[in-house]
Subunit: 338 residues, 2 copies
């Protein structure tokens, strides 16, 4: 409050322009100079008025985040993480949901509210590579999630194949052999879109087990009701798996609901593993084993890539970033006695 | 596409100005005229370019929604409903979360990003009435939720006292007498902020039962972990209620986790009821009885009030709107045999 760029320049014994370069994270400032200016900033408690700076540069200070469904806790938790990461760069986040509909995703990616947003983070489900051509390149775009695109954009996604393989390997290590996959989808045969299903297949094959396609259940969506219906369908056609690996935690939670209703014990009769590590899974009556993507890292990388492009300091090449993940083992596979 | 205001005017046999008045929902258009123009609009498939219209009027077409926590499914579900309701008015929603911190709520209410938003819907937790004075009145504000304010703003909230009383009445009707309340908070003694706790008290008194303050547990927050800790604290100090009424579903779900860990059966040993009707509660191992606020109506009323003020056709007086709610009885109180 009240401390100006000029005050910082005087304290550091440098020009206002140099302080400005440091504050704006311009390249070509030596580390020594950066440290000297930063020291003065810290001593004086200078806080750049970033919102005003956005406006001076013809920016709004708003980035958009478009996710398939805010009602899915994974995306709600991710949105919270993006809001926090963006706040550190003094950006406000406009959140929109696309319901995973391709036309909504196209609308958003093609310059959705481009008069008010500086950049866009999009987590697509049905968007195709060709939908990404001819968009307004003045609004940088960062893609999130499992889908792969042959398009020149930064893309942040955990290694979904490796993560799925870890979950399946865990189920195999417990002695399970008939492992169902709930939450497959149709219409994506051409591209390697369904990384988690691929991980399921690869790990089974690596263990010398022929993947049984009768244990793969296609769902309409990715919610709890879809998981409950998928589990019921599997049991109704006489398939009784030892274990279930679900596309996400919501499907896994729905499947557990059906198993409980049918009087099957978790994990004694059927072990269940999910994907996403949403908070719900931790508080289930039988806490859910899951793959935990590093949501903070995903959010931070997405915002960092976007703000780097906005301040003109990115590498020319779009980058593929792979934030981490880990397997979290809970009672739904390991039981309470572990 | 390609159909203009003029085309509609010609088809309807009225002036372009009249069509414009109908499209812009101005008052003083007779119902007959409105129907006639609407018929032409429908026949021609005319779709007003609302975004351009926003810009012509110096508006951005963006409204902000500030909620305490997107990680709370109630607010995530509500945000989804607001996004849908706003889309029907061609408004985009900028979602922010305040973490329920008073200074964030003040920042937001005082004109947060007012250069980019046309209006604001705010769901406050710790904001005080005096924080609402002196704000930028060019940005209309609609308040959501349980807190009451002596301030001239539209306020949308279900009848929290009545809803809480219904939940407690249901527990009483099952024969429970020692009914705990989990999720009280401190520091709000002056104003009638805690409607749900008040409902708990009033209904017990109406049933001739002295409210036992030893059965009221204060929590730090409103999450699952808070509910689990509150239930554990209650049991650890030797209180064993027949039933629990939780401030919200997350607290109820956390309480159920603790009860399960302690080997207590739901509802045979302790019945549990929540508030919010989030999807999680429907898919618990023991599905959760809850109060279901009409989230669609809340969202629609909030957006309608805001857009009415933006188009200059509201009543001068701020309104108190009370969307509906209902008690949803599930296994956590009624058991599976009902």
């Amino acid at each position: 409050m009240g401390v100006s760029l000029k005050d910082v320049a005087q304290r550091a014994g440098v020009s206002v322009k140099t302080v400005s370069n440091v504050v704006n994270s311009y390249p070509h400032v030596t580390p020594q100079m950066r440290a000297r200016v930063q020291k003065a900033i810290d001593e004086l408690g200078y806080r750049p008025n970033l919102t005003a700076r956005h406006l001076r540069k013809g920016r709004t200070g708003i980035i958009a985040l478009a996710v398939p469904e805010l009602g899915n806790p994974y995306f709600a938790e991710l949105a919270g993480a993006v809001i926090d990461a963006a706040a550190r760069h003094d950006y406000t986040v406009l959140v929109d949901h696309t319901a995973g509909r391709r036309e909504r995703e196209i609308h958003v990616s093609q310059g959705f509210s481009s008069h008010v947003i500086d950049g866009l983070i999009l987590s697509p489900i049905h968007l195709e590579t060709e939908d990404l051509t001819g968009r307004d390149e003045t609004v940088p775009l960062v893609l999130l999630g499992e889908r792969e695109y042959e398009a020149p954009y930064d893309h942040i996604a955990i290694d979904n194949v490796a993560a799925a393989r870890e979950a399946v390997r865990h189920l195999l290590s417990l002695g399970h052999r008939r492992i169902a996959f709930l939450g497959s989808r149709t219409g994506h045969e051409r591209q390697p879109a369904h990384m988690r299903l691929r991980g399921w297949r690869e790990e089974l094959v690596a263990a010398g087990i022929e993947p049984d396609e009768a244990l793969v259940v296609v769902t309409d969506g990715y919610g709890r009701a879809d998981g409950a219906a998928a589990m019921a369908a599997l049991l109704d056609r006489g398939e009784r798996p030892d274990a279930v690996f679900a596309y996400n935690d919501l499907i896994a939670i729905g499947a557990m609901r059906t198993l409980t209703e049918r009087g099957l014990r978790i994990p004694e009769d059927v072990a269940v593993a999910g994907f996403d590590d949403i908070e719900d899974g931790r508080f289930c009556a039988v806490p859910l084993t899951t793959i935990s993507p590093d949501k903070s890292a995903i959010a931070r990388l997405a915002v960092d890539r976007l703000t780097a492009r906005l301040t003109g300091q990115p590498p020319a090449e779009p980058r593929r970033e792979r934030p981490g993940h880990r397997l979290v083992i809970r009672d739904s596979t390991a039981g309470r006695s572990r």
